[in-house]
C-alpha cells in the first residue's frame, strides 16, 4: 500500500522530488526500507548518513517498522552548514 515519502531539503536535489508516494510492505525491516528508499531515489551516496523518521519519529535501525497507508516517512540527512 502506498506510503507518503518526504525528502528534506538537502535530499531533495538528489532525489529529484520533495514529496511522493511509495508502495512498501506494511511490516518491514528498517534495513530493507532504507534499501528500497535509497534505490528508488538514488540516495546511495548518503545511505549511511540519513535518519528515517516515520510520522515524525526516529526509526531505530535495528527494528521492524509497522506502516499503514498514509504514513509519512521523512528522509533527513544531516546538514553541516552555518
Amino acid at each position: 500500500m502506498p506510503k507518503k515519502i518526504l525528502t528534506c531539503y538537502s535530499a531533495r536535489e538528489l532525489a529529484g522530488c520533495s514529496e511522493t508516494f511509495l508502495d512498501v510492505e506494511d511490516s518491514i525491516l528498517y534495513a530493507d526500507l532504507l534499501e528500497i528508499i535509497v534505490k528508488s531515489y538514488s540516495l546511495e551516496d548518503i545511505k549511511n548518513n540519513v535518519i528515517l523518521a516515520v510520522n515524525e519519529e526516529y526509526s531505530n535501525t535495528s527494528e521492524r517498522i509497522l506502516l499503514k497507508t498514509g504514513d509519512e516517512i521523512a528522509i533527513i540527512p544531516p546538514i553541516s552548514g552555518g
Partner: protein
C-alpha cells in the same frame, strides 16, 4: 582588561594582515589611501567607543549600586525587565544568566544572531571562537559584521558589535581555528556551562560533540544550508549525542558547503526573522535561515541556563524555508553502543577530526590539480583566442549571474550525469570544422579540470583538444579584468 587587550592585539594583527596582502598585490596609490583611511577610522572608532562608554557610565552611574535588590544592579533590573517579568524567567533566571559562561564556536550565520541575543539577554561571560576574516559575501546573513569590518577577524568585529550592545558583560574573543589541540587548551583554562555549535563543517561538529560528552556539557547544535535548518540539543538530560545519531561521517563529496506581560528576547527575534524571510521569499529566495536557527539556539541556551525545561533534547527541529514548515522529529534514546557517550566508549580523548571525516574543518574550497601541465592554458591567453570555443561549466544560475562574451554554458553536473550530451556533441561537431582547441572554464578552476578529464573520455572520437583555463573566472577577475565579480 583581559578582553580589551586581546582586542587591541587583534586589531594590530588584522592591520598587519591587510598590509601583508597589499604588499603581495599591486601596491597602488589607491590601496595606500585605503590603508591610511582604515588606520584613521580605527583610531577614531576607538576614541568614539571610549567616549560612548564614558557617557553610558556617567548616565547610569547612579544605578550601579542597588540596595533594593541583591545580585543585580538597578541598571540590570531596568535593562532586563521585559524578560524578568516572565514568570518562567524572573529574577532567578536573570541571576542564573549573569553567572553563566557560554562558548560559541563560529561567528557566521548561526553564531552572529545567537551571540547577539545572548549578549542582549545578559549572559555573564561569552567566549567566541572563529579563525576567519569578514568577507563581503558574509554580510547578507552574518549580522554582527558591517561593511567597515571587511578583512578583519570575525571575532574582532563581533566583539566590537557585542560590546557596543552590552558593555556590562564579559566577552572573550579567541582568534583560532577550533581543533582538538586548541579546544583542549581552551577547556584547560576555562569553564563553560553550555557550548553552541555555530560551525560550518562536519569535522568541527564531531569535535564539539566529543568535547561536550567528555566534559559533560550540553551542546546546542544548529545547522543551516540553502533553504533548510536543523536544531537540537545534544548530550542533555540523557538524550542522545551527535554520534548516537550519526556514527559515521558522510562522504565528503555529499556534504554541501546560515512590554507589559514580558517577552523573552529570542522569541520576537525568530518571528522577525521569519517575517524577513517571507518578504525576501516573495521577491527572490531566502538566506535568513541561519539567522532563524541561530536565534533558536540562543533560546535553547537560555532555557538550559535558567532551568526552564522544554529543552529541545531528544528532538530534532527541522525547518524547511521553501514550504515554511517546522518539523519536530522525536529522536532515539542514547545509544548504549555509541563510540563516545555509550556504556563502553572507545573515544575517551579527542581525536583527529579532519582525518576521521576525510574532510577539512572549514567550508573553504580546496584547489584540485588533476591534469597534465599541457592540459592547462593561463587565463591571460583567453583574449588572444577570440575564435576558440569557450565552454563555461558552471551551473546555469551562476552563468546567468555573470559570464564572459561568447562563452557557451554547459554545466559540469550535466557532464557528470550524462545529461543532454547529444546537444553538446552537436555543438562540438559543428565547431570541429573550424577549430581544434576547446577551452573549459568554471568559477575557481576545479570543476573545469574535472570536466576536461571527462570530456576527453566522452568525445575521444572528435579531433578536439580540451584545455582547462587555469584558476577559472576568479583568476580572470584577478589577472585580466577586476570588474568581473568574484562571488
Amino acid at each position: 582588561m583581559y578582553d580589551i587587550r586581546i582586542n587591541n592585539d587583534l586589531r594590530m594583527h588584522s592591520n598587519m594582515c591587510i598590509r601583508h596582502k597589499f604588499f603581495l598585490g599591486r601596491m597602488a596609490a589607491e590601496e595606500q589611501k585605503i590603508e591610511k583611511l582604515q588606520d584613521e577610522i580605527n583610531q577614531l572608532r576607538e576614541e568614539l567607543q571610549r567616549k560612548e562608554r564614558e557617557l553610558f557610565d556617567l548616565k547610569f552611574k547612579k544605578y550601579h549600586d542597588n540596595k533594593y535588590c541583591l545580585g543585580l544592579t538597578a541598571t540590570d533590573i531596568m535593562r532586563y525587565s521585559r524578560q524578568m517579568l516572565l514568570s518562567q524567567f524572573s529574577i532567578t533566571g536573570q541571576i542564573a544568566l549573569k553567572k553563566s559562561r557560554v562558548l560559541i564556536v563560529g561567528m557566521g550565520g548561526l553564531g552572529c544572531p545567537c551571540a547577539l541575543y545572548l549578549a542582549a539577554a545578559g549572559i555573564g561571560e561569552l567566549t567566541i571562537v572563529d579563525y576567519d576574516e569578514v568577507e563581503l559575501t558574509n554580510l547578507h546573513r552574518q549580522v554582527l559584521h558591517g561593511e567597515n569590518d571587511i578583512g578583519i577577524p570575525k571575532i574582532l568585529s563581533a566583539y566590537n558589535r557585542l560590546k557596543n550592545l552590552n558593555s556590562n558583560i564579559k566577552i572573550i574573543p579567541i582568534h583560532t581555528h577550533a581543533n582538538s589541540s586548541t579546544l583542549t587548551d581552551l577547556f584547560k583554562n576555562k569553564t563553560f556551562d553550555v557550548v553552541v555549535d555555530g560551525s560550518d563543517n562536519v569535522a568541527t561538529r564531531y569535535l564539539l560533540n566529543d568535547i561536550c560528552v567528555l566534559n559533560n556539557l550540553p551542546l546546542v547544535s544548529g545547522s543551516a544550508l540553502q533553504m533548510e535548518g536543523q536544531l537540537t540539543v545534544y548530550n542533555y538530560n540523557k538524550g542522545p549525542c551527535y554520534r548516537c545519531l550519526f556514527p559515521v561521517p558522510p562522504p565528503p563529496d555529499t556534504v554541501m558547503n546560515c512590554g507589559d506581560g514580558g517577552v523573552l528576547g529570542p522569541v520576537p527575534g525568530i518571528i522577525g526573522t521569519l517575517q524577513a524571510l517571507e518578504v525576501i521569499k516573495t521577491c527572490t529566495s531566502c538566506f535568513t535561515v541561519p539567522g532563524i536557527i541561530g536565534t533558536l539556539q540562543a533560546l535553547e541556551v537560555i532555557k538550559i541556563l535558567t532551568k526552564q525545561g522544554g529543552v529541545l533534547s531528544s528532538r530534532l527541529l527541522t525547518f524547511d524555508a521553501c514550504e515554511a514548515v517546522f518539523r519536530n522529529v522525536k529522536l532515539r534514546t542514547r545509544n548504549s553502543r555509541c563510540a563516545v557517550c555509550g556504556d563502553d566508549p572507545t573515544i575517551t580523548t579527542l581525536i583527529d577530526y579532519e582525518e576521521f571525516c576525510g574532510a577539512s574543518a572549514h567550508d573553504k574550497v580546496i584547489d584540485v590539480d588533476i591534469l597534465r601541465k599541457d592540459d592547462h592554458i593561463p587565463v591571460k591567453e583567453l583574449s588572444s583566442k577570440p575564435e576558440t570555443l569557450l565552454i563555461d561549466v558552471r551551473p546555469t544560475l551562476e552563468f546567468a549571474m555573470c559570464n564572459l562574451d561568447n562563452s557557451y554554458n554547459f554545466p559540469y553536473s550535466y557532464i557528470k550525469k550524462g545529461k543532454d550530451l547529444d546537444k553538446l556533441r552537436k555543438k562540438l561537431e559543428d565547431y570541429s570544422t573550424n577549430g581544434n582547441e576547446v577551452l573549459i572554464i568554471c568559477r575557481r578552476g576545479n570543476d573545469s579540470q574535472r570536466a576536461v578529464l571527462q570530456l576527453k573520455e566522452i568525445f575521444t572520437d572528435l579531433p578536439l583538444k580540451f584545455l582547462n583555463v587555469l584558476g577559472g573566472l576568479y583568476a580572470y577577475s584577478n589577472a585580466v579584468d577586476s570588474s568581473f565579480p568574484i562571488y
